[in-house]
């Protein structure tokens, strides 16, 4: 309790207001000991009481002093105030009026999603431009981190061009499934979305542009990992170029033949992939058949089972 008293006193002193510690103590004591209010709730209550008494606007009080600058990949805690130096990698369509902009920010260490609230009244950011985002709050939702920009945040444009890095990950396992929407596909010429039965979710029936990709599932017996291979990786790995794929499809009068060939070459085999982790996918940079010698493993497991026996 003393600790909380000191903290509150110190915080108000910073704003040039002297509050009686005795008064804080009495209030805290009453709340915590007599009325069984949790300590954090009591602190909030007392703080608000003095803010009102001294007519200090809440925004002024709660504006954290220079939130620490961190890298995108180091965001590991929910509800922290931080400052980011980032490039706007992507802007996504906002689906609600309370959201003025959302998308993806990136720095040398990796990327992170952001939300900018309409209520925050902040200037618009542009894709590809670099900014310092002061006082943004981290949040965790469905296992993923993002940052949100609110009233107390600040956006400062900078001229420096930030190189967006990737957090590379590696996964060993067997490919156990190739998902629909793999192989030879068509994309919408306007929004690049994959077409389903010749129609784009946004723009309806369009003349699609051919593309080649693989969405696969890897599994090591303990974890499942989705992987995504773009055209370059798919071409290099399967030896089927986009032109060849089109030829195959024309010959068979069926787009699905390409997928069948890819499936028969990939599924049920062991691979090592590396790439950037994006959402639940690994965006594959390299994929190789797993050729790590198995003799070592045989010895290791035999030794382990024998010792315990």
């Amino acid at each position: 309790m003393n600790e909380i008293t000191k903290q509150i006193e110190a915080r108000f002193l910073e704003l040039g207001v002297k509050v009686e510690t005795g008064e804080i103590d009495t209030m805290l004591d009453q709340l915590i000991n007599k009325f069984k209010v949790p300590a954090e709730e009591a602190r909030r209550n007392v703080t608000n009481h003095f803010l009102k008494k001294h007519n200090i606007p809440k925004t002024e009080f709660f504006t954290p002093r220079a939130a620490p600058q961190v890298k995108a990949a180091d965001i590991k805690e929910d509800g922290k105030w931080i400052t980011l130096r980032c490039k706007v990698v992507q802007l996504w369509e906002t689906n609600h009026e309370s959201l003025s902009q959302n998308g993806l920010l990136g720095d040398e260490s990796g990327t992170i999603a952001f939300k900018k609230w309409t209520k925050a009244n902040l200037p618009q950011v542009e894709e590809g431009k670099n900014y310092i985002f002061k006082n943004v709050a981290t949040s965790l939702w469905q296992g993923r981190f993002s940052v949100s920009l609110n009233k107390t945040s600040e956006i400062i444009p900078i001229t420096e061009d930030i190189k967006v890095g990737k957090t590379l990950v590696e996964f060993h396992g067997a490919i156990v499934d190739i998902q629909s929407g793999s192989g030879l596909i068509k994309r919408c010429p306007e929004c690049n979305r994959a077409l389903i039965k010749g129609a784009c979710g946004e723009h309806g029936k369009v003349d699609g542009i051919y593309d080649l990709r693989v969405k696969a599932v890897m599994d090591d017996g303990e974890k499942v990992q989705d992987i995504l291979m773009n055209r370059e990786v798919t071409e290099a790995f399967t030896g089927i170029t986009l032109d060849k794929a089109k030829e195959m499809a024309t010959e068979a009068l069926d787009q699905a033949v390409v997928l069948d060939v890819i499936k028969s070459r990939l599924v049920g085999r062991y691979y090592v992939v590396t790439g950037a982790k994006l959402d639940r996918f690994i965006l594959v940079d390299t994929i190789k058949q797993d050729v790590k010698p198995i003799e070592e493993d045989i010895k290791r497991i035999l030794a382990a089972t024998a010792v315990e026996a």
């Binding site: 296992g143 069948d260 499936k263 493993d297 497991i301 089972t305 315990e308």
Partner: protein
């Protein structure tokens, strides 16, 4: 799973040796919905809704009457798996139809149990997909399955719910399964 909160999570394909799968007869269902997944808990405590196996196809047979229904026998160092593929698994059925035993096959499928009139429980795998692979892939599978089985064995006396259930139901003889793992690995050495 890290993101089990985001609704649908793909079931892991467990690696289980034939000898262990053959002994499995403990079914578990999560939830009471008709769509909630059912699992087969194995003697070493794997809770499998899906398995991944690689072995040698030694026999195959079309036992369908109206439409094709293929059944195959796939052998690993410890025993044999029974694999089936019918009209609802057309791709897998085609692979089995076209294959010429002996051949190395990789199978991803759902373990299903069948109780005979005599009350014996038979386990077979309903293939989701099936592909011809090479010998190296098969060897790698044996080693990986040995590794994962050994890991499960080491946790069998722990407090994880699946391990507890397995031990209660099968009174698993750990030594017997350790011997199975060792035997599978020893079989690789002579090659």
């Amino acid at each position: 799973m890290a993101d089990s909160s985001s609704g649908f999570v793909r079931e892991i394909a467990h690696r289980i040796f034939a000898a262990e799968l053959k002994e499995s007869n403990l079914q578990a269902k999560e939830g009471h919905d008709q769509y909630s997944p059912s699992y087969l808990i194995t003697p070493t405590g794997a809770k499998a809704n899906r398995v991944f196996i690689v072995g040698t196809l030694t026999e195959k047979e079309d036992i369908g009457t109206d439409s094709e229904f293929w059944r195959g026998r796939i052998v690993d160092p410890t025993g044999a798996f029974f694999v089936s593929a019918g009209q609802y698994q057309p791709e897998a059925a085609q692979v089995l139809a076209r294959s010429a035993p002996p051949e190395f096959l990789a199978v991803i499928g759902k373990p299903t149990t069948f109780t005979t009139k005599e009350g014996n429980v038979l386990v077979s795998i309903r293939a989701e997909s099936m592909h011809v692979v090479d010998g190296a892939t098969r060897d790698r599978w044996v080693v990986e399955t040995a590794d994962l089985t050994a890991k499960r064995l080491s946790k069998l006396n722990g407090t994880e719910p699946d391990a507890v259930k397995a031990k209660e139901h099968y009174s698993t003889n750990v030594e017997q399964y350790k011997a199975m793992v060792a035997m599978a690995l020893e079989s690789m050495k002579v090659r």
